[in-house]
Symmetry: C2
Subunit: 218 residues, 2 copies
Amino acid sequence: MQFAPERDATIIVVDDDPGIRASLDSLFRSLDLRVKTYSDPSEFLASDLPSGDCCLILDVRLKASDGLEFQASLGQSGINIPIIIITGHGDIPMTVKGMKAGAVDFLAKPFTDEAILHAMGNALKASRRMRQIAQERTEIEQRYERLSAREREVMALVASGLMNKQIAGRLELSLITVKIHRASAMKKMEAESLAEFVRIAEFLGIRDESITRYHKNG
Amino acid sequence: MQFAPERDATIIVVDDDPGIRASLDSLFRSLDLRVKTYSDPSEFLASDLPSGDCCLILDVRLKASDGLEFQASLGQSGINIPIIIITGHGDIPMTVKGMKAGAVDFLAKPFTDEAILHAMGNALKASRRMRQIAQERTEIEQRYERLSAREREVMALVASGLMNKQIAGRLELSLITVKIHRASAMKKMEAESLAEFVRIAEFLGIRDESITRYHKNG
DNA sequence: TGGCGCATTAAACCAAAGTACAATAGTCCT
DNA sequence: AGGACTATTGTACTTTGGTTTAATGCGCCA
């Protein structure tokens, strides 16, 4: 497997060691990749996120802050970038913590060009996957936001397998009203079949709580 | 969070150091957990797998064989046990490799009782989750095996969102035949609604290849 | 060879889903 | 006040879906 980084990919380096920043910068630039370097997480946060695929190469030991904490905060704030952690003075517990927190790789300094490029390749692949899924999720969530409250109720019950008549009973509506909301919901969600509608609901985790039949896990 | 290991859990220790085996054995037994110790992976493989929740505490450095390779071979052969790796002479690359391969935790010797118990608690939780999912998958696969070839074809097309009439066209069958197979498939899969039927198909990854509409990833 | 399961189809029928047109009423914004 | 959106229901009609009963043909197994 060779290094075949996607075009328009951006490598972000956060390390307070200017030497590391410079050497990584020249390494990636020699492969026609965009590179942004920062000496501190706050600098990175103040900047715009790249639009295309990207990955973050992060030093765990930073003067001002802790790289692992920064990693955790990124994860919590929904910023989803594959992270390669590098360290000059790492140990096993730190490595475990970083990997558990979802790092794609964890490299001890000094590392070879080959090692960081290999890690970068995997990270960009992960970025691609994550972005695709995130994009799909965003699209579907935007559609879902356009549903009215009633339509959402009906959608949840339809996805739970209830018949229109049963839904009408639960919501104390007439059968026709349910049909209207159901059709409207399917149209807004751009579902062309009930099967697709169910899968979309599943993807969004929408199901009526009172109906437990099958599949809490997934 | 306290240590609340499930009852009937089994801890498997594979380490060629008799001292480690003895101390882990007494530690876990003091908590009323079942323990099985082995000095070598082959010994463990020759024994029966525990029926309840369990986890494997594995030393990476074994006289006869490599713990990481053993870990990989377990994963490939479908044996699904949460693994806690322990090591006397570990380094970062080894830790990364172990974690990437799915280890629940990675501890450097010497470790405290608290550390190994904490790891064990997480491992048993993972075991519980994995076993539940595996059991559900097995049940559903067994049901699926009872379907005839035709019923499977029809199921795939139903799950893809096609109407009975369209399915009949594709398979060159009459409408009634499709309805019969569809009803039979739903009965055998124990699906009480189309929504449930679709979710079961999704769970099994069943979809007609010629129908790409929505959701390759998930 | 007779029974069993599978596959196939038909006729007839009922239930459910979907659609079209029409109407009323409330809210929110301009 | 008028317009837009949502919610609601009704009637009427068409299309699908689902079930029952019945029949035919095939391959397999005891």
